[in-house]
């Protein structure tokens, strides 16, 4: 049996970080890889749009957007049990949004085991990035008269024009406008180097997750329960939506993964500005410290089993 190198790179970073090696990737590399992966995914989604008549996709897209808005509404009350309003709202937003890298590893996993999937999931990934952020801000501000932080206009700007959003939507537009023929001369970069580049990104993610261990120690039990319980529960929501869309086993797996993954690029940036009172250590500890490695190592194959069971 051979191991998936993509996951091995993550484990290498994690091990190096835990062992306090002096390995560090330059910040500029991390930023560059983020830009690149977001553009890749956006372009792929855009090529989907170019392929299918937009009217066919519209009802599906609406359902997916609804899922993105529903997730924070569903988990906010649960989190309120133990957490102040702002923190519950912020974490809810993180889990309603999605992790682009987790999705990419999921796609790599399915290709590896030869399981086909509906290509419009890439488009859904782009769509899911935002609605949860807006719901999260509303939840955080509900009831508090004097807006803590920025006004609504500025907030919407922050959420809509955040780096990840612009790159995903920009890539989407470029893919849709240029079409497969137009994008072909760029394939050597945006297609061929996507998966190998992911390995470097995951090496860095391993290092970053290792750096979250301090928080895990402090808030251990709560983060553990939330960071594993939420994706497990949400994966079934994703499967439910996938069934409503009549998807294949591969598609169901990715829908589960989209619902189960939590954003750690777009959401933290947006929440920091929109909900300054929320403690970023808490939401990042759960989303990045627990849920991300859980999905990577356990979740992806598990959701695939779930999908096989219901398909």
């Amino acid at each position: 049996m051979s191991f998936d190198p993509v996951v091995l790179f993550f484990l290498l970073g994690l091990a190096a970080g835990v062992a306090k090696s002096d390995l560090k990737l330059p910040a500029a590399l991390y930023d560059t890889l983020s830009v690149f992966l977001l553009l890749c995914i956006g372009i792929k989604g855009g090529l989907e749009l170019a392929k299918q008549p937009i009217l066919t996709l519209l009802p599906q897209a609406m359902l997916v957007l609804a899922m993105g808005a529903a997730i924070p509404l569903l988990i906010y009350p649960l989190l309120r049990w133990r957490l102040p309003q702002v923190d519950a709202a912020s974490i809810a937003a993180h889990y309603g949004s999605v992790s682009v890298v987790t999705y990419a590893v999921g796609v790599a996993y399915l290709s590896r085991i030869g399981e086909a999937f509906e290509s419009q999931t890439t488009l859904f990934l782009v769509l899911l990035e935002m609605p949860a952020l807006i719901i999260g801000v509303i939840l955080a501000r509900r009831g508090s008269r004097s807006a803590p932080g920025h006004g609504w206009g500025k907030l919407l700007h922050e959420v809509l024009l955040g780096k990840s959003m612009v790159l995903l939507l920009g890539g989407l537009a470029i893919g849709a406008l240029a079409g497969p023929e137009g994008i072909k001369p760029l394939d050597r970069l945006y297609v061929d180097l996507f998966k190998p580049t992911l390995t470097l990104f995951l090496l860095e993610m391993g290092l970053v997750v290792a750096g979250k261990i301090g928080i895990l120690r402090r808030e251990g039990l709560f983060l553990l329960v939330a960071g594993i319980g939420l994706p497990l529960a949400l994966s079934w929501l994703g499967i439910g939506v996938g069934l409503m869309l009549g998807m294949s086993t591969g598609g169901l797996t990715l829908m589960a993964l989209l619902a189960a993954s939590a954003s750690y690029i777009a959401a933290p940036a947006a929440m920091r500005m929109a909900v300054p009172g929320a403690d970023p250590a808490l939401s990042l500890g759960a989303a990045l410290g627990i849920t991300f490695p859980f999905n990577l190592l356990v979740g992806i194959p598990l959701y695939h089993q779930f999908a096989l069971a219901v398909a």
Partner: protein
């Protein structure tokens, strides 16, 4: 040439606040400042990279003493509660007083 006394305000805070602070400077009619990327540790934990909105910046701004103190107070009141923030004032001497 002669040297003139001014006050240097140094602000270390989350890079997410850069736009807000620059807006504030413009609002108060301040004409110049310098920004450097920084990392650090404080009450709000360690700040390292820029990726999860977790970077620091260090801003240096020379003004007359009253303006610098006023600015520091405003910033502390507006951002001190929720954001990682440390500020300090230093007496400095400058050559071209008309620039500050």
């Amino acid at each position: 040439m002669t040297f003139h006394t001014r006050t240097l305000l140094t602000i270390v805070t989350e890079s997410a606040l850069e736009n807000d602070l620059v807006d504030l400077f413009h609002l108060q009619g301040l004409r110049g400042w310098t920004i450097v990327e920084a990392r650090g540790k404080g009450e709000h934990g360690e700040k390292r990279a820029s990726f999860d909105a977790n970077g620091n910046i260090q801003i240096e701004l020379i003004a007359d003493t009253a303006a610098a103190e006023q600015l520091a107070t405003t910033i502390a009141e507006r951002f001190g509660r929720h954001y990682a923030l440390v500020q300090w004032l230093t007496d400095v001497r400058v050559l071209r007083a008309e620039k500050f």
